[in-house]
Subunit: 311 residues, 2 copies
Amino acid sequence: MSKSNNVYKDAFNRCLRLLDETQSLPSEPELGTLLGVSRTTVRSILSRMEETGLIAWNKRNKTVLRTPRPEDFFPEEETDSLAEIIERSFMRRLLAGGAEAGMQINELELAREIGVGTTSVREFLIRFSRFGLIEKRRNSHWVLKGFTRAFALELTEIREMFELRSAAAFAALPMDSAVWADLDRLEVEHRQLASDIATRFNEFSELDERFHRLIHRASHNRFIVDFYDVIAMIFHYHYQWNKAEERQRNEVAIQEHLAYIAALKSRDPAKVDVACRKHLKSARQTLLSSIPEGRQALAADSTLTGTFARA
Amino acid sequence: MSKSNNVYKDAFNRCLRLLDETQSLPSEPELGTLLGVSRTTVRSILSRMEETGLIAWNKRNKTVLRTPRPEDFFPEEETDSLAEIIERSFMRRLLAGGAEAGMQINELELAREIGVGTTSVREFLIRFSRFGLIEKRRNSHWVLKGFTRAFALELTEIREMFELRSAAAFAALPMDSAVWADLDRLEVEHRQLASDIATRFNEFSELDERFHRLIHRASHNRFIVDFYDVIAMIFHYHYQWNKAEERQRNEVAIQEHLAYIAALKSRDPAKVDVACRKHLKSARQTLLSSIPEGRQALAADSTLTGTFARA
DNA sequence: AAAATGTTTTTTCACGATAAAAGACATTAC
DNA sequence: GTAATGTCTTTTATCGTGAAAAAACATTTT
């Protein structure tokens, strides 16, 4: 199968939405920049749009012939990259239970079950290893360290260290820095979400990530910025499986963020420290409460074979 | 070529040294544990030892027939894993000059120049990326961020944060913890090295790593422990290219370590903090002084093609 | 029966091959 | 002459394959 053309399909779908909005298409290089793909892919997209009668295309003249219909789009599941597919599949197994600490991870089995080559699985595991949840035995298998309370505590310890430092650096930024405008925009978004919380509470996780990434960026330290990837990954999946009291939790978090934002705007280091600590403390509580100690197999079908096997 | 048998060759050489020392060989499983390889590899080793007349081997009876000669050993360069070969080769290019920040890294070219498959190079780059020196453009090439002053500052910022915390945790460890004995042993090694510094100054880097790893382990935080890999990698190569005043630098560092050890043994948090800061400060100075700002191509042969190409 | 050796199966590691996607070069249009 | 389009080349992403190494199973020895 060699390589799927998901880049093309995903860009095609995004291009359709663009077409729907603007009713016109720019030049090939411009479209490439807009979609984040090369001209080669842009031209494939335009070819198909011409074939399916969406546009008339002759050199620089691109005329929109009709509005995109649902059936013009590629199915969403065909637009995911292999890495995304593998990650989702792996995380589902990890969180579905039956994945106890110390178990072995079998590359070949994982590859077969997901239906991909071993190379892709290997590369995924190497990339994933920086999250601290798995570990490689030299010349041998991977070992699952498990999504345990210890993991959550170690993660939050670093997070708190990094965020306190980043927040302090943020507050010390000169007033003419562009971040203050970014912060203002995020504040507005927080207020809008707060007033609409009943219907839009599930939009918080995305806003949460943008907010914290903005703060971490003020550290101007690549290791701090990169570490947020670990936090983001954990929270991403955490939000998916822990839906209990989601609305209420998010409501509280928004208020904490607003207090945090106000503290940053005051540029008073002591106030920033207090607001940051308060928010981090409740974030830690939320995460910890979703990891019962002695996390066991939740499903009873945990057999001795499969991706995760007993050591 | 599929896969080299470097694991076997390396284990064979180590087994020869063992044979030379003990004049006998234990059972197959025991030997496997000792050498850190599987029984399959152990049996291959024994087979060759029998063939080359080193031992007589009949089931459990392994009789040593003669002492290993230099020509019995596999050449050292055949015992390196592919990952090691690629890393060394990559770092040489990186440090040899001509590798400016922003340059592209070409997987195919790198693979061809080193004489290995692309998969191995890809996996190396993914693993290496956590060191913060390179960055991947989605669906495209890697970008070299460069071994710059900024990098060194960001690295040491985290290092100092982590080590101060680890040192504090270390000092707070109960007296019956096994680490105190480890610390005592390291202290002795430091004193021995200090008295022999004229001839053995180049042994310091290895001792340095063991000392700092012991301290970091007291944090009981996998992210802190893992981060030391980044520091160790940088210092490893740093020691190789910056030989200026090596002896004097190491002499100073040993004294700082001894003061640091004394502070830890006092278990007085304030003293630990002072000693730790002092050592970290001079470690940072040493690193920074070896990275001239505006680090340019040192070699004149930097062409527009090759592993690192101008963006 | 515990622990070794002997044998077979499975998994990891590394490669070359191939389609997708990016990038470079040549040509044309404004 | 700048910026687009048209064409060709190179690189990246992914797979299947095969040897090295690990692991599992069977048999023998003490």
